[in-house]
Amino acid sequence: MGRKLWLPLVLGVLATACGGTDEGAGDEAGGDRQTATDKGPLVVALPTEPRNLDPGSAGTDVMPVQRNILEPLVRVSEDGLIPVLATSWERVSETEWLFHLQEGVSFSNGKPFTAEAAAASINRVLDPATAADVLGAISSMEASAQSRYELLITTEEPNPILPIEMYLLPIAEPASVEGTNRARDPVGTGPYVVEEWRAGSHILLSRNDDYWGDQPEVENVRFVFRSASSVRAAMVETGEAHIAVTISPQDVSDAFETAKVMTIGTPFFRADAVCPTTSDIRVRRAINQALNREAIAEQLYGGAATPAHMIITPIIAGYTDEIRMPYDPEGAKALVAAARADGADLSHEMTIMIRENFPRNSSELAQVMQATLSDLGIASHIQTMGKGLWVGHAKVDQIPPDRCAIILSSHENASRDPAQTLQIYYHSSAAQVNVPDEQLDRMIEEAMALAPGPQRTAAMEEIFIYAHEELAPLIPVVHLQAIYGISPDIDWRPRSDGIIFVKDVSWN
């Protein structure tokens, strides 16, 4: 081979490796594009693959897919409770609720939907042996069939908000979901059925042609999993996907539509009250005042967040404008000075405990907290850990007496009622309470017994105001918003709980 032959050869190889293949792919990729807009399957790009589709699983990874297959008795929506598989319900005694079920509904495998099936599905999720993850969010109850279409729920304690909790208990055909909480192919009454699940690649749902409700417009939907926000956005931009779930502000483009929606996620800090540094309420209040929530929302979250004054979102009963957390660094310093003058010992170094990248930007939030504390003359260091270790610190029956931790957590309440919030973060019996208070406990117990309505809402507001003024247990940061990339080919709006009801999607 002569000298001069080398160069063309190399270039030739390079061309085959890059140019040649690219050219060939052009037509194919172009073809793909057409099918995407050609009312083929609806493609939804999710950040994570669902663990499973078990009716006992909740969470943002599972619910967007699961709730198209399984339906609950009652759906929580902007306008209150909407009957789904139950047509109506009534409280027959302090601890008993009777649900009248939709008649003539079948599971997608042809078996009839009856009170007996519903009871079996609900009781399985409530059995601790199932290890269902919704268990913590619902109260103790037992379901039994009164007749073919009457389901009786008996609760351990009087529970006036039981119908709201039923939203967390979608019904699956009992034989399809036996054993621990890991069902991958649950059979439900919903508008879609699992057609194919290729682990790591996609889940394909197809329309349930025997669906009891209105037939949805979308025939098939493919959920794909892409962890990088920029790739999800690119997929909508190129027409490969119709919905990109939660994209970063920097990935927003003019090439597709976006919708911003307030999520149920509210990051917050909790400072140990057993620690001498933060045992003084003035110090906890000072941290609240010194935290620049506007800057966090704008700078850290690129505007996809709003300052939070409470850990519950404005759509939850009990949210009140009376609780405000104005940014006042000077006032905060004065509070700390006053505490010091009274002999408060602020020399103990705080440990800011965070979970790796949860909530979003957790390490940046920790740095902001560290700077905020430093401005107040409080020393701190950051400890980052995986979820397993973090839970071990965040959820303790008894906070160790010498601990000085500020723990970053995130609150997610999908129910529109603060019962869950109060049980987890305010009542002293909970494992995540730093400032136990008997009066607060009493107020919570009384309010929980009230039926939903103005009286309950007022009682809830009072609880939060009392806690804010007398205890200052928590440091809410921001209410996170989610940005969805949406193809112009479809008509659809995101929901704050992150569920994607494919039957609500229509083609343009």
Binding site: M1, G2, R3, W6, L7, L9, V10, V13, L14, T16, A17, T21, D22, E23, A25, G26, E28, A29, G30, D32, R51, N52, A58, G59, P128, A129, T130, A131, D133, L135, G136, A137, G179, T180, R182, R184, A199, G200, S201, V224, R226, S227, A228, S230, V231, A234, M235, E237, T238, E240, G386, K387, G388, V391, G392, A394, K395, S409, I424, Q432
Partner: protein, 307 residues
């Protein structure tokens, strides 16, 4: 040669056993899987039931014993996450990674050898400088960044290729190119320096002075000898492809072992994690073994010294 092979095989199995034991022990130190699997709000009964169901309450020795027994029958248990048999889950994902890594390997070899040789033939020339640039860029560019760059250019801007996912052959191109960048950089450099060294050697000079044609000198004398270092580095790069595929698979939503690894690590899905370590180390150990044999076959000195 046989004795050499048997001895190497024995060493490999021992290394594998030690590795798996260490991973088993370490994976038990990183937090309670019940805390990871269940949400923060889950009550203690649910956690207890979960630990009970997966034998996480048993003493460490019992768990280890069960693991070793399972290992003998290639049974790693069920995935905590999905309930599927762990090994099956891993083996299902293996072909996707093999396709990706194989394509990347073919691209690397096809690009690096001609590029390296062309550069070595004319040191200081344009092609030589091009090779240096490609090599430096390939080795130093962060893989995820290159991947996103390729997506932006070829999928979003030009629209020639799909952004991600699986399907036809065109889905392989971008992830394989991203994955091949590093080995191309490394291997073209090795090919260049290997040939440069050979071209300076006495027997080449002799061959040229005899009047042998340049092509014959290159093909029969220089190339073959310069292949040994290339092969060693290439085998190392093949194993690194498995590594690199973690990042690439996650970005491109490629359903291979790499993305499964990330899922299993995040979820602390111990059975799957151990099955992955087992499968990957078998591949690595077997790969090293084969390379050693080839190396020994190519270079008799290896057989004598090592045996």
């Amino acid at each position: 040669m046989l004795e050499f092979a048997v001895r190497r095989a024995g060493q490999s199995v021992l290394a594998l056993l030690i590795l798996l034991s260490v991973v088993f022990a370490v994976s038990r130190l990183t937090g309670d899987p019940a805390n990871l699997y269940l949400p923060v709000t889950a009550p203690e009964e649910a956690r207890e039931a979960f630990r009970q169901a997966f034998g996480l309450n048993d003493p460490f020795v019992v768990q280890f014993g069960r693991f070793v027994m399972g290992l003998l029958t290639l049974d790693f248990g069920e995935s905590l996450y999905t309930g599927l048999p762990a090994l099956q889950l891993v083996l299902q994902r293996l072909p996707a990674t093999a396709v990706l890594a194989g394509t990347a390997l073919v691209i690397s070899v096809l690009v690096s050898i001609p590029l390296g040789l062309a550069a070595a033939r004319r040191p200081g020339s344009l092609i030589d400088r091009l090779q240096q640039l490609v090599s430096l860029a390939g080795m130093s560019m962060p893989t995820f960044w290159l991947a996103i760059l390729l997506i932006v250019v070829f999928a979003v801007t030009l629209g020639w290729l799909p952004t991600s996912g699986t399907g036809g052959w065109q889905h392989v191109v971008l992830p394989a190119l991203s994955l091949a960048a590093r080995p191309i950089g490394m291997l073209s450099q090795v090919a260049r320096s290997g040939l440069l060294e050979q071209l300076k050697a006495d027997h080449i000079r002799t061959a040229i002075s005899k009047g042998m044609s340049e092509r014959r000198v290159l093909a029969r004398h220089a190339l073959r000898n310069s292949l040994t270092p290339y092969l060693i580095v290439a085998s190392d790069q093949i194993l690194r492809l498995l590594n690199g595929s973690v990042v690439i698979e996650v970005i491109f939503g490629w359903p291979g072992i790499g993305s499964l690894t990330i899922e299993a690590v995040i979820a602390r899905d111990f059975p799957v994690l151990l099955a992955i370590v087992f499968v990957v180390s078998v591949i690595i150990v077997a790969g090293n073994f084969i390379v050693d044999l080839i190396h020994a076959a190519l270079d008799p000195r290896v057989r004598i010294v090592r045996a």
